[in-house]
Amino acid sequence: MKVIEAKIVVLGSQGVGKTSLVVRYIGKMFSKHISPTIGASFFTCNISVGDTRVKLQVWDTAGQERFRSMAPMYYRNANAALLVFDITSVASFNAIKGWVKELQSNVPEEMVMSVVGNKCDLHECRAVPYSEATAYAASIGAAYCETSALHDQNIEQVFLNTATSLLTLSATNSTMKSYDSADDERNNGSPTEHSDVTAKVELPSYNTSDGVAYGELQRNMCC
C-alpha cells in the first residue's frame, strides 16, 4: 500500500474557529476517549484514499495577531494549508488573502490550499458571500468548502478533499514523503501517540462517494 506523509498547517485569524474545526474533527475520531493531554494543536491522522494511505500531520497555529510573525516557522515545509475564515467576518476573509500571499511568496514548493469558510451555521449574518469565496478559491487554485464546527458539517469533507489533492500532488511533487508500505499495521514506530487509533481514523474513507454528495447538499442548504 502506498503511503503519503503530508504536513497540513491550519491558518487563519483568531476566533475564526480553527481550533474548533480541529477539535471537532479530532473529537469525531476520538469520540470514545478524548484524552485531556491530547492537544488540538497537533495531531496525525491516516486517511485512505483509494488504495493509498495519506498520513496527515495537522499543525495548528496560534491565531493571535502578535504571533503572526511566527507563522513562517509553522508553514515551513508544509504540503497543505487549511485557510480558515469566518463567513460572518470580512476581516477574516481578507486575512486569508494575506496568508495566501505570504504562502505564495514564502513557500517555494507547490502546496495544496483549501479555503474553509467556517461558521456556516450563522449564514443569517453572513458577511462573505459564497460566490466571492468560491471565486477567490478558484483564483488561487484552491478548493472551497463551508463548514460548521458547531453542527459538525462538512469537516470530514475538508480533510478528505485535502487528502485527495495531496495524493494528486504527490504524483508530481517529490518533496512529499511517500513510500510503499508492505504491512497494514503501522502502529509501531509511528512518531505520534495517536497512531493507535488509526483504524478509527480511516472511517471517513468508505463514505467517500456519499460524503461528497452530502457536502454538496449541505452547501446548497446553507447557501
Partner: protein
C-alpha cells in the same frame, strides 16, 4: 627578468643547499615555535598541538572580532609547565575552558543541572579529547561499544549487517564532521550533516541489508544513528554545539539576560489561563520547567526534542483540554520565561542545524520544537504591542531591576519546588520511619527469640541435669583413694579427707576406715624398714607362687583349700571380715605404694598433679588422676625416684579398674562387681549387704589361679619387682572379676584400651 628568476632560483637552491649538508636536525628545530618545550609538528605549522590550536582560535577570533567582541575564548599563551603530557594538558585545559564557559553561561538557579551535564561530559572527556587532539583522529572505541550494545537492545530483530552498517556510518559521520569542523562554517557543516543523513537514508533504501526493514524501523535507525553520532560530537567543545565561528554563546547570554529582564511578564500579559494559586497548575508548570531545563543535559538532538515534547505536553495539560495552539504558545512562552533555560539559543541552534531535518519538519517533536522556536523568537522580539500594553508602562517595567519583577510567580514556583522537596523529604522520612519500625519489630522478635532460647536452654539444662544428676562423689573417690593411699602413711590426713566428702559417703568412710585400720599394720611394716616394703608383697607373691605350685602339684580341691588357707593368711591382718580376696590383694597392692611414699611422697604426688594439670583435667575428680598419673609417670619418670613411680603406677591401674567397672556397670553384673572395688562406694556398700564372697569362693580359686599365672609371668619378666607385679595383678583382677560376668565386655570396655599402656611398663621397670 631571467636573471632575477635565476637569482631567485639560486637563492632557493642556496637556501636549500645550505640546509642540506646538515642532515642532523637540531632538537630545537623540532620543538614548538612558541618555545613551550613541547615538540612541534609540520602539520601544525611547527607548533605543538596546543599552541597550534590556540593559534587557530586566535585567527578565527580575529576574523570575527568585529562581530563578536565579547567572546572570551582561550587566552593566548597560557603555559602550565607542571603539566605532564601534552595530551593530558590539552584535555584538562579544554575541559577547564569548557567548564568555565559553562559556568559563565549559567545561572545559579540551574547550577545542579549544569553540574550534571559537566559531570557527564567529564567522564568521557579525557578519552575523547586526547583522541581528538591526536594527529590522526580516531573515534574512541567506547562509542562503537556503546552503539553495539544499544543496537542490540533496541533492534534485537535486525541482523548483524545492519548493525555493522549503522556503526560504519556513525564512524564515517564522526570522521567527516571532525574533518570539516575546522574548515567549514556552521551552515556548511549543517548542510553536510543533513546530506550525510540523507545518504544514510538512501543507503538504507537501496542496500539489501535493509531490504527487509520497514520504513518505521528505518526511521528509528536513523534516529539511532543520529543519536550516537551526535552524542559523541556534542560533547566536543565548539564543534557542533555552539560551534566556534558562531555567536551562539553570546546569544545565550543575551537571551538569558533578556529573560531575566522579562521576569515581570505574567500570565495576564500573555493572556494565558494560568492560576498560580492552583496547586495542580503550579505542579504542571514546575514539571514543564524542569523538562525544559533538562533539554540542556540531553546531548543528542533527538534527546533534546524529546525533552521539548515532554515539556509541551505538560504545558498542554496546563492549558486544559483540548488545548489549541492559541493556548499552547502563550503558555509555552510563559514557561520559557519562568524557566530561563541555560544555553537556550545554543540548544535550539544545535537542534535546528544538526537534527535530521526530516524529523524536525514533521512529527510531534518537530511541532513542539517549532513552538519553542516561536516562543524564543517572541521573547526576543517582545515589545509593548505584543503584550498589548502601554509603551510607557512596558518601558517602566523593562527599566526595573530584574530582581523585583515576577516575584509572585517566582514565589509560587519556588513554593512548588519547596513543596515538592518537602514531599520528597516527607516520603523519605516515612520510609525511614517504616524502616525504623521494621527494625524495632525485628529487634523485638530477636529479643523474644533470645528469651525463648534462653528458656529452652535452661529447660534443657534442667532436663539434662535431672536425667543425669551430677554425682561427683563416686569419682571423687579416686583422688581420695590416692590421698587415702598417701594417708595410709599418715592416717590423720585420711581422717581429715573423709569428712570432707558429702554425707552419703559416710558409709564409705566407714568402709575406708577399716581399710585404714588394716593398712596401719602394713604401714608398720613399711615403717619398720625400707627393704621390708617389698616384703609383704613378695610374701603374698610367694604365697601365690606356692599356691601355684600347690595347684600344679596337688589336685584342684587341694589347691582350692590351699588358696582358702592363703586367703585366711591374707586376712590375718584384717580385723574386720574382708570377704573378698580382691580387697586383700588390693590392700596388698596398696601397701607397697604407701610405704614407698612417706611424707615426702605426698609432696611429690602433689607435684605430679600440678604438673599434670596442664595436660589433663585439673580436677582431682574422676578418671583424670589415673590418666594424669600414668602419663606423668611416663613423662616424668626421672623426676621421681623409682620409689615414687611405683605407687603411681599402682594407683593408675586401680583407677582403670574403677573406670572399667563403672563403664561396664549393669544391674545384672552388679554382684560380681561388688567384689572388685572395695573403694568404690557401691562396691563397698554391696560388700556390706550380701555375703557375696562365700558363694564366689569357688570362683576365687580360679581367679587366684589366673592371678597366680600372671604373677608368675610377671615374675619371669619383671624379675619380681614389686610395683610391676602389683600392676599386673591389678590388670588381671579386672578381667577376673569379669570372668564371672563376661570376658567380652571387658575386652570391649575402654579400660582394656587403657590397659594398653601396660606395655609401657617395661620402660618404667627398666628405669628403676
Amino acid at each position: 627578468m631571467l636573471f632575477g628568476a635565476n637569482l631567485q632560483r639560486s637563492y632557493k637552491y642556496m637556501n636549500f643547499a645550505s640546509k642540506m649538508p646538515s642532515l642532523r636536525i637540531d632538537q630545537n628545530d623540532l620543538k614548538c615555535k612558541n618555545g613551550c618545550d613541547y615538540y612541534g609538528n609540520p602539520q601544525w605549522q611547527g607548533y605543538c598541538s596546543k599552541c597550534h590550536r590556540e593559534q587557530m582560535l586566535r585567527q578565527r577570533r580575529a576574523e570575527k572580532a568585529s562581530s563578536n567582541p565579547s567572546a572570551t575564548l582561550p587566552r593566548p599563551e597560557q603555559k602550565k609547565p607542571e603539566r605532564g603530557t601534552k595530551q593530558a594538558s590539552h584535555s584538562s585545559f579544554s575541559k577547564f575552558e569548557e567548564k568555565r564557559l559553562r559556568q559563565s553561561e549559567t545561572l545559579a538557579k540551574k547550577a545542579n543541572l549544569l553540574k550534571f551535564s559537566v559531570f557527564k561530559k567529564s567522564s568521557t572527556d579525557d578519552h575523547d579529547h586526547s583522541e581528538r587532539r591526536a594527529p590522526e583522529f580516531k573515534v574512541p572505541p567506547m562509542v562503537n561499544e556503546g552503539m553495539k550494545r544499544d543496537f542490540r537492545t533496541r533492534f534485537p530483530t535486525l541482523g548483524a549487517e545492519t548493525d555493522r552498517d549503522a556503526r560504519v556510518f556513525v564512524h564515517s559521520f564522526i570522521m567527516d564532521v571532525m574533518k570539516c569542523a575546522n574548515v567549514m562554517s556552521v551552515d556548511e557543516l549543517s548542510e553536510r550533516v543533513q546530506r550525510l543523513y540523507q545518504r544514510f537514508m538512501k543507503h538504507m533504501d537501496t542496500s539489501q541489508h535493509f531490504a527487509h526493514v520497514d520504513s518505521d524501523t528505518k526511521e528509528l535507525l536513523m534516529d539511532f544513528v543520529e543519536k550516537h553520532a551526535m552524542n559523541y560530537l556534542h560533547d566536543l567543545p565548539s564543534v557542533v554545539f555552539s560551534p566556534s565561528g558562531t555567536d551562539d554563546e553570546r546569544l545565550d547570554r543575551a537571551m538569558s539576560e533578556r529573560i531575566q529582564q522579562l521576569s515581570w511578564v505574567g500570565e495576564r500579559h500573555l493572556e494565558c489561563k494560568l492560576d498560580r494559586r492552583h496547586a495542580a497548575c503550579r505542579q504542571l508548570l514546575y514539571k514543564a520547567i524542569s523538562e525544559l531545563l533538562g533539554m540542556d543535559s540531553a546531548s543528542s538532538p533527538g534527546g533534546k526534542l524529546t525533552r521539548v515534547r515532554r515539556c509541551c505536553r505538560h504545558v498542554l495539560a496546563l492549558c486544559g483540554a483540548p488545548a489549541s495552539a492559541d493556548d499552547l504558545l502563550p503558555a509555552l512562552i510563559f514557561t520559557v520565561l519562568k524557566a530561563n533555560p541555560p544555553r537556550l539559543v545554543s540548544n535550539i541552534n544545535f537542534v535546528t542545524r544538526f537534527c535530521n531535518a526530516q524529523r524536525l519538519m514533521t512529527g510531534e517533536g518537530g511541532y513542539y520544537f517549532t513552538n519553542l522556536c516561536c516562543a524564543v523568537s517572541f521573547i526576543e522580539n517582545l515589545t509593548a504591542e505584543s503584550l498589548n500594553m502601554d509603551k510607557k508602562e512596558f518601558d517602566c517595567y523593562m527599566s526595573m531591576p530584574a530582581s523585583i519583577g515576577g516575584s509572585a510567580w517566582a514565589a509560587a514556583l519556588s513554593l512548588c519546588g519547596a513543596s515538592r522537596e518537602a514531599e520528597e523529604q516527607r516520603e523519605a522520612a516515612q520510609r525511614l520511619l517504616q524502616d525504623a519500625r521494621n527494625m524495632s519489630e525485628r529487634a523485638a522478635a530477636l529479643h523474644a527469640d533470645a528469651v525463648c532460647f534462653q528458656e529452652q536452654i535452661a529447660k534443657k539444662v534442667e532436663d539434662v541435669l535431672a536425667k543425669t544428676p551430677l554425682e561427683i562423689k563416686p569419682r571423687r573417690e579416686l583422688p581420695r583413694l590416692c590421698k587415702s593411699k598417701t594417708a595410709i602413711v599418715t592416717p590423720l590426713i585420711d581422717l581429715e579427707l573423709n569428712p570432707t566428702p558429702a554425707e552419703p559417703q559416710t558409709a564409705i568412710t566407714e568402709e575406708s576406715r577399716p581399710l585404714v585400720g588394716y593398712t596401719v599394720p602394713s604401714e608398720d611394716n613399711s615403717q619398720s624398714s625400707q627393704p621390708t616394703i617389698a616384703d609383704p608383697v613378695p610374701n603374698v607373691e610367694k604365697d601365690s607362687i606356692t599356691d601355684r605350685i600347690n595347684n600344679t602339684d596337688t589336685v584342684q580341691p587341694a589347691s582350692s583349700i590351699h588358696e582358702l588357707e592363703h586367703t585366711n593368711t591374707a586376712k590375718q591382718g584384717t580385723q574386720e571380715t574382708e570377704p573378698k580376696l580382691n580387697i586383700l590383694g588390693f590392700e596388698v597392692i596398696e601397701k607397697p605404694s604407701p610405704p614407698k611414699s612417706p611424707q615426702n611422697l605426698d609432696q611429690t604426688w602433689q607435684l605430679k598433679q600440678t604438673s599434670s594439670l596442664e595436660l589433663l583435667t585439673p580436677s582431682p575428680l574422676g578418671f583424670t588422676p589415673f590418666d594424669s598419673r600414668s602419663i606423668d609417670e611416663l613423662m616424668t619418670p626421672d623426676e621421681f625416684g623409682s620409689d615414687s613411680l611405683a605407687p603411681g603406677l599402682s594407683n593408675i591401674n586401680y583407677d582403670i579398674d574403677l573406670s572399667d567397672f563403672s563403664g561396664d556397670n549393669s544391674v545384672a553384673e552388679d554382684p560380681p562387681k561388688e567384689a572388685k572395688d572395695p573403694f568404690s562406694p557401691e562396691g563397698l556398700k554391696k560388700a556390706f549387704d550380701p555375703f557375696a564372697p562365700q558363694p564366689t569362693a569357688s570362683t576365687f580359686k580360679e581367679v587366684l589361679d589366673k592371678f597366680d599365672e600372671f604373677s608368675l609371668t610377671d615374675n619371669k619378666t619383671n624379675r619380681t619387682f614389686d610395683p610391676f607385679d602389683v600392676i599386673h595383678r591389678n590388670d588381671p583382677f579386672s578381667p577376673e572379676r569379669k570372668e564371672g560376668s563376661s570376658i567380652l565386655d571387658d575386652s570391649d570396655s575402654p579400660t582394656t584400651a587403657c590397659l594398653l599402656p601396660s606395655p609401657l611398663q617395661p620402660q618404667s621397670s627398666n628405669k628403676p
